[in-house]
Symmetry: C2
Subunit: 372 residues, 2 copies
């Protein structure tokens, strides 16, 4: 694999933190929602992993764009978009919701924030849910306003995140429960801070409103973070895979339904609400799913970068493909996520993994998250 550069243009949007991220030595980006997401700094992914598990990190996750749905029909529209029942949701809550299309194919898996009675934010993965929501709304003639507000999430992740944010925003931050948010003051502005984030090490996401405040916020957190050994960081591939955190576009796509993605618990079974794809999903449930996302632990020394999926075999039959995979310094073997066909998805099933260095490695199916 040739290492290639990313050619920059206005279309690949910068964030309020991109200047800072460059100043702090970013070495690699990816693109999510037409926006830069830092993916590597000077620390290698293993150093970064241990740091994240012990200290605290500052992540530019502005690419988690917010789709704001506001108006009398806001709840109606969002309820149409997800099999998860949101009718009892309270203001100040976050909910992880699968979004599916008319064929029950996954088109995103955002975190939904209820900001007010008729106002929601969808904090999205990589697809233009703004267009999906607007298309449905235009077609149905709903009374909602849908837009992408001037909001740029900054994540503070790691075990010292709470102490750090308490030193900046006050002790009240400690009262915010997991998947809840509160409003906190920053230079005279009210900012939403949620206890959430794309790691299993604990932490917060600041939904900064106001592009121009970005560098100020970065600097404020950075200065206060020095005594907590803060580092610039990004979603860590080792930690995410170990934690069984899936990535839309990587580990599942619109070809997959939520039941295959272990999201059954977020799919209402009763007919308490109607949603797009309901009939298709019911049919899939009746017929039973044909594959499911599992963990695989596989040996043979650290595997190469999983830029292309690694095929998974049983007795020369391909039974899946590892879509995210990396060496775990904790488990001291490689770990990966893979859709696995039904006949082979049992825990402890022995399989073979063909990595891009042409090594056929021995692996074993595990549950998710990976066992401690």
């Amino acid at each position: 694999m040739i290492k290639s550069g990313l050619n920059m243009s206005r279309r690949i949007r910068r964030t309020p933190y991109t200047n800072k991220v460059e100043e702090f030595g970013v070495t690699g980006f990816t693109v999510v929602n037409h926006m830069l997401l830092p993916k590597a700094y000077k620390k290698n992914v293993e150093e970064d992993y241990w740091h994240l598990k012990e200290h605290v990190q500052l992540w530019d996750v502005s690419c988690q764009r917010q789709v704001q749905v506001e108006g009398p029909d806001a709840e109606t529209l969002i309820q149409k978009m997800t099999p998860r029942n949101i009718s009892n949701m309270k203001i100040g809550k976050c909910l992880y919701i699968p979004l599916i299309d008319e064929n029950a194919g996954m088109i995103n898996d955002p975190v939904l924030l209820k900001v007010d009675n008729n106002k929601f934010w969808l904090s999205i993965a990589d697809s233009d849910i703004l267009l999906w929501a607007k298309g449905i709304s235009v077609g149905l003639g709903l009374n909602v306003k849908i837009n992408e507000p001037d909001i740029y999430p900054l994540a503070i992740q790691g075990p010292k995140a709470e102490d750090l944010l308490a030193s900046v925003f006050g002790e009240k931050i400690r009262e915010v429960k997991f998947y809840n948010f509160g409003f906190f003051n920053f230079h005279g502005t009210q900012q939403v801070i949620a206890r959430a984030g794309y790691s299993k090490q604990g932490g917060f996401e600041i939904f900064l409103k106001g592009y121009d405040l970005g560098e100020n916020l970065w600097d404020t957190i950075w200065e206060a973070g020095k005594k907590f050994n803060i580092s610039p960081g990004c979603p860590n591939l080792i930690e995410r895979i170990e934690g069984g955190l899936m990535s839309y576009g990587n580990d599942f796509t619109s070809e997959n339904n939520p039941l295959e993605c272990n999201l059954e618990k977020f799919c209402t079974k009763d007919s308490s609400h109607n949603f797009i794809g309901e009939n298709a999903l019911n049919k899939i449930r009746e017929e039973g799913i044909k594959q499911k996302i599992r963990g695989i632990i596989f040996d043979g020394g650290p595997c190469p970068t999983c830029a292309k999926p690694f095929p998974v075999f049983k007795d020369k039959v391909q039974i899946g493909q590892i879509t995210s995979g990396i060496y775990s310094p904790r488990i001291k073997k490689n770990v990966g996520l893979s859709m696995i066909l039904k006949d082979y998805w049992n825990i402890d099933e022995e399989v073979k993994v063909l990595t891009s260095d042409n090594l056929m490695r021995t692996g074993v199916i595990t549950s998710l998250p990976f066992p401690k």
Copy 2:
């Protein structure tokens, strides 16, 4: 600006030609529609420019994803999505169509292909029109099937493109008129080939159906192209700007309406058909637009890469920003595209351009495409 790498993952989709592109020495990519678009090879952009104007190039433009709309309501749906009247469109034709949202904001500018009476392809720029089209269709309850078919455009651009393709697909290719397409045989498959492409040097786009045929097609064109001095290439920034070819996300966004983008000729004025955003567009037309895309020629030696827009001033007032800009070896000055406020958009108006090397340069407003 730090030069950063692009971190690869399955989410940034490879194309059927990516292995070839790597073998041929790609040095930079960008991401369009969640897919890799090669943006640089070993030749620099100026060498590449002269080559494109004299010879022929092979471009992997698979990222121009096709949104296929099929069924009894196909024309109805597409007509809802664009202010351009498509009712007289014939099979075998291509049409450039602006797509706008309910506020008349541009959300894409695809080329529409009429493949059959109830079957269209939208060959899209960088936004998930698949979700927009499906959302509208679900909301309105239309009788259409919408999907992203297994199609990967490969462009053959440059003055020798016709001779090259005639040597591969036969003399009949010469009869295909500009913005028309025909069906041609490739290894027993019927393939759509259009006279179109993202340059002003002439050429074709092969809408290859069948991922697995990709490398075979690349090799076939490459071998036949050797005697025409073929080179691997990509949309060339100098040639595109000189030709006044706009890029969605760079030169205009959903903040802009089609009238600002010089697309008035593609916006029906009579009420021959209804479309989303019609009222908003009529209101904008009545009130008059406030800015418009123009060319700017500016001096001071070759400008740096335009990764962030260059602000444009008149007497210290910012009147626009150059969103695509580069040195033209033909004009021997820099050229750029910029939205310019109404009071300043007259041809030959003198302006100042502040480039990212902190040089304030003198420029002049021109029409588009740039004068010969």
